[in-house]
Assembly symmetry: C2
Homo-oligomer: 334 residues x 2
C-alpha cells in the first residue's frame, strides 16, 4: 500500500472495520461460531493438546510508521507461528489485537489483516478473531493456538548430554537486516522489509519434534537461545563456529570475526535450535529435507553449564543477543 | 502499590522479569511444558471445543497512568473472561502481552500480573504465558482459552422470535463510573477503580448457555448489544425500560429520563444479555440464582428488525453505546 492510498482511505470506524473483517475472514471457518461473536471456537483433534503463545509488535520497536502494513501483519502472525513451530505444533487459529491511533486509515488495518491472514493460511491456520482499540501507538498482538501430540512438545528443559545440536536455515539474518537499517548505502525500504521478513519454520518444527528432546526458536538470536537451553536443561551447550550456516551476505557485511559474531547472534532470526539424540539425527534431517528445509549440525550438548562458542582460538562464552529490548540501544550501528 | 514504592522499584529487565513471572505463575500448571518455554500447552477436556478471545487495554483509553496496576491486570483478564462467559465456556488459560515504556518499575508489571493472576484463579483459570515488550504506552492484551460443549455456544446469530430477553446483574455500572470520572465531587481514585471493576459473569454464563439460544456480553452497553443481537439474528429485540435492573446510584446521578438512558446504555458493563426460549427460562433463573447471581427478564425477541426500548411514552430506537472508542469523546461529561 502506498502512503498516498493510505491517506485517501477514511479513518477507522470500529464497527465498519469489524464488518469488513467478518467478510474478509469468513472463508475456511469451522462454523462453530460466527465471526464477530464474543469469541471464536475451534475443535481439538482427538488426543492432541493445545499449544498457546502470544507476541506483541510495537511501532518504533519492531516496525516503523512507513513499514508495509501487510508485512507487519504477516510478521505478527509469523512470530507467533515460530513459537508454535518450536513446540512441534500444527498451527490452527490466530487472534489479532490491533491498537491504532484515532484517524488511522482503515486501509492500513485492512492491509495488516490481509497480510496476517495470507501468512496464517500459508501455514494451514486461520485468523479467527481479534480486537481493535484506539491508542497513541500502533501495536499488534498476535496470539496463536496450535495442536500437538502431548509427548512431542520438545520442552526446553529436556536436552540431555550427548544430544546433537541442530539448527534450521541460516544464522544472522536478523542481525544483517538490523545492520542494513543503519547502512546509508542500503535502501531503507529494503532493510525495513528485511527486518519484518519472518519465515516461521512450521513444517520443520513439526518434523523435528518427532525426534528432538528439546527445541526453541532463535527469535533473540542463536546465542541467546543456546544460553536459554543450557539454563533450562542444566547442561553445557557447545556451538562450533565453523559449522554455523551464516546468512548470505553476512560475511561480506562484517569483515572481522568480532563483527560477524555480533551480527550472527544479534537476534530476529526465527530459526529453530534443537537438541536431538544421535540415533534420530539422520531421520530428522531427512524429514526436514523432505519438507524443503535444511537442518545443520552445529554442536553438541555436554554435561556441565553455560553456552560456549568453539572457535579456531578455543572456547569462549557464547555471545548474548545484541538486541536488549529494554536496553538503551536496540539496533547495532556500523 | 503506592507511587512511592513504584519509584523505588528498579526498571524492568526483560529476563529478570520473566524469571519472576516463572516463579510467580509456577503453581497450578498442567506440567505439559515449563513456564518460560516458547509456548504453553493445555489438555482439552474430551468432547469440548476451545473458545478463544483477545482484548486490548490501552493507557489513556481504558486506564490512566495512576490506575492501580493490580486492578489493570484484573480488568484485562476480566474483560476476556467476560467474552468466554458469553459463550458459556469454562475459563482454562490466559496469555498476557504487556507493553511498557523502558524504565517502567518492575513492581508495576509485577503488580499487574499478580492482579491478573488473582482474577484468573478466582474463575478457575491460570495465566500460562505472555510477552513483555518495550513501547511508549502501557498496553495490555489479554487472550483467553476456555472449554465449552460444542452444542451450547449460544451464537449471537441464533436468537428466535418468541425468546425471552434476560440480563445478569445491573445495567449502567460502566456509564455511572465514567460519569463519576468527570464529577468534581467524586473522588478521582474511586472513579478510576470503578471504571476497572470488571466482574465477568463466568458462573452465570456457563449456566445460562444450557438454555439460551443466543448470548453476548454488554461490554459496549446493553443498548449496543441489543442492536448486535438484532442484526446477527435478523430479529427485532424489544427491551422494557421499566424492567431494567438499573445500577444502584444511577437514578440519583441522572435526574432526567434522557440522562438515565445515556448512562444506562453507555457501555463498560460486562453483564450478559441472552435470548432464552420460554420453556427454559425458569430453570435458567434457578441455575443462575444457585450460583449467587441474578437473571432479570427485560424484554423479548420478535419477528422484525432493529432494537427498541419500550418506554412509558411508547417504543423508541434503543440508544447506541455512548462510548465510541474511535470517536472524539470517550467519556460523557456532566
Amino acid at each position: 500500500m502506498t502512503r498516498e492510498r493510505a491517506h485517501r482511505s477514511p479513518p477507522i470506524q470500529e464497527r465498519a472495520f469489524h464488518r469488513w473483517l467478518e467478510s474478509h475472514l469468513a472463508a475456511g471457518r469451522s462454523g462453530l461460531l460466527p465471526l464477530g461473536d464474543d469469541a471464536a471456537a475451534i475443535r481439538p483433534p482427538r488426543g492432541q493438546v493445545a499449544v498457546l503463545t502470544t507476541d506483541a509488535l510495537v511501532e518504533g520497536t519492531h516496525f516503523r510508521a512507513e513499514s508495509d502494513p501487510g508485512q507487519v501483519g504477516a510478521a505478527a502472525v509469523g512470530v507467533s507461528l515460530s513459537d508454535l513451530a518450536a513446540k512441534g505444533a500444527r498451527p490452527a487459529a490466530l487472534l489479532l489485537a490491533v491498537v491504532v491511533p484515532r484517524g488511522t486509515p482503515a486501509s492500513w488495518a485492512q492491509a495488516l489483516i490481509a497480510g496476517g491472514s495470507r501468512c496464517a493460511r500459508a501455514y494451514g491456520a486461520e485468523i479467527v478473531g481479534g480486537d481493535t482499540k484506539p491508542g497513541p501507538v500502533r501495536t499488534i498482538v498476535s496470539s496463536a493456538v496450535g495442536w500437538a501430540a502431548p509427548g512431542r512438545l520438545a520442552p526446553r528443559t529436556a536436552a540431555r548430554p550427548g544430544d546433537v545440536l541442530v539448527t534450521t536455515g541460516e544464522v544472522g539474518r536478523g542481525g544483517l537486516a538490523a545492520a542494513h537499517l543503519n547502512d546509508r548505502h542500503w535502501p531503507r525500504a529494503r532493510s525495513l522489509r528485511e527486518l519484518l521478513d519472518v519465515r516461521p519454520r512450521v513444517r520443520e518444527g513439526i518434523r523435528i519434534a518427532r525426534w528432538a528432546h528439546a527445541m526453541l526458536d532463535t527469535s533473540d538470536g542463536l546465542g541467546e537461545s543456546a544460553w536459554l537451553l543450557s539454563a533450562a536443561s542444566h547442561v553445557r551447550v557447545v556451538v562450533e563456529e565453523s559449522q554455523l550456516p551464516l546468512a548470505r551476505g553476512l560475511a561480506r557485511a562484517a569483515r572481522t570475526p568480532a563483527r560477524r559474531r555480533t551480527l550472527a547472534f544479534f537476534g530476529g532470526d526465527y530459526e529453530l535450535l534443537a537438541a536431538v539424540p544421535e540415533p534420530g539425527l539422520e531421520r530428522a534431517q531427512e524429514a526436514v529435507a523432505s519438507a524443503g528445509g535444511t537442518l545443520t549440525v552445529i554442536g553438541r550438548v555436554e554435561r556441565g553449564r553455560g553456552a560456549w562458542l568453539a572457535t579456531s582460538r578455543g572456547r569462549r562464552p557464547m555471545p548474548h543477543s545484541g538486541w536488549q529490548p529494554f536496553g538503551p540501544e536496540p539496533v547495532p550501528a556500523f
